[in-house]
Subunit: 247 residues, 2 copies
Amino acid sequence: MSEPQNIYDNPEFFAGYAHLRQTATGLNDVLEQPALWSLLPQSLDGLRVLDLGCGFGDFARKARRNGARSVLAVDISAKMLAAAKKQTQDPAIEYRQLGIEHLDLDGGSFDIVVSSLAFHYVEDYPAAVARVADLLAPGGRLAFSVEHPICTAMAAQQWVRDSDGHALYWPIDDYRLEGARKTKWFVDGVVKYHRTVESYVNGLLASGLTLRCLKEPEPVAGGASAVIPGLDLHRRRPPFLLLAADR
Amino acid sequence: MSEPQNIYDNPEFFAGYAHLRQTATGLNDVLEQPALWSLLPQSLDGLRVLDLGCGFGDFARKARRNGARSVLAVDISAKMLAAAKKQTQDPAIEYRQLGIEHLDLDGGSFDIVVSSLAFHYVEDYPAAVARVADLLAPGGRLAFSVEHPICTAMAAQQWVRDSDGHALYWPIDDYRLEGARKTKWFVDGVVKYHRTVESYVNGLLASGLTLRCLKEPEPVAGGASAVIPGLDLHRRRPPFLLLAADR
């Protein structure tokens, strides 16, 4: 297996991504994060949380505000972790540089494992999920989001548009051809791994987890759609796939 | 709710469909049926089977050859049932004219409930699944196939092709807009109901069933692809979604 990609430490990528997150009107904020939180218990009181691919630590800090006893927030990017630490004054949040591929943590030591838009960067999903299942305490929950396989099937990830620029439809091809897709996102050559819905779901079941929910969230009419241009497009094909499963 | 559609008793539709099935080189035979059988126990010895939307009774007869104690095979189409009965000499197979929407059967009386490409004709899927869950004996299994939501999202159900007729990609639109799609299949105005993967999966979970497997089967390279023109296209987008869940 190749070394895990660490695109977030690329200076040009990091600058673009940091700007996107700081403006905070992106799809993650209005669609993906609410859907991810809906897969967790309403209160995290006393729970031990592991956040895989924690980025700037937004989730970790919110988890603590929602009662989590502790949060271990890991990311492969040193820059992301440095930025996260700067925004955090909380001894119950620990940031650690660690790839999802190398989780040398104690088995059964987390009640909640969460991952936001990180698993599609992981080459060996079945291995990662098996490791996560082992990290969960009995009754613990894994909840995660990925870019939807409908979106990752083709590397270009673009609407087909008419000559006036209106979106006609979203194209799909090579759906069953799982593996790397090189895309441009701030910089060229960002590698994502396309997988089928079948692989995402059956990987959980193969690790002995019980599926609790599958979500393909859509923008709520009259909600943020009014202020975020183009948000309605995400009703026409699902941008995210979210799964929740219990040990 | 409107009356269930009974397109299979339309003479023109029936003639076209009967011809398709009799030639037996369709996608159902090489892809959908093997995938559906893979979701069932290897032996059906002594099990009571319910087949929802049984068509010509192929599954019912094969289930008996695989040891099923009894098969109740229901369909809404009188013509289909008449044809099925003609091909069947087996007192342990009972054919009954019954829509999936009106399953007035005894709760807990089946070990296996199977349905091949019928649920996408059912308007109220959550109600149908709840009823099926009640029909299953504890430990019993529901396994079914539907046209994949990627395929049913747009009513046209056609590849976008270049001027030479080569398939460029499969178009998606209106994915989150669940409901009726009028398509042409032998005759105009065949109504299918598009649903998201989320609805298909969460409907099972909401009925108290435990998901065992999700499949998006693809043609096997070098298999039937060699003899069925165009079969390779079904690797480029999934034609079927199959789900197995246990009570």
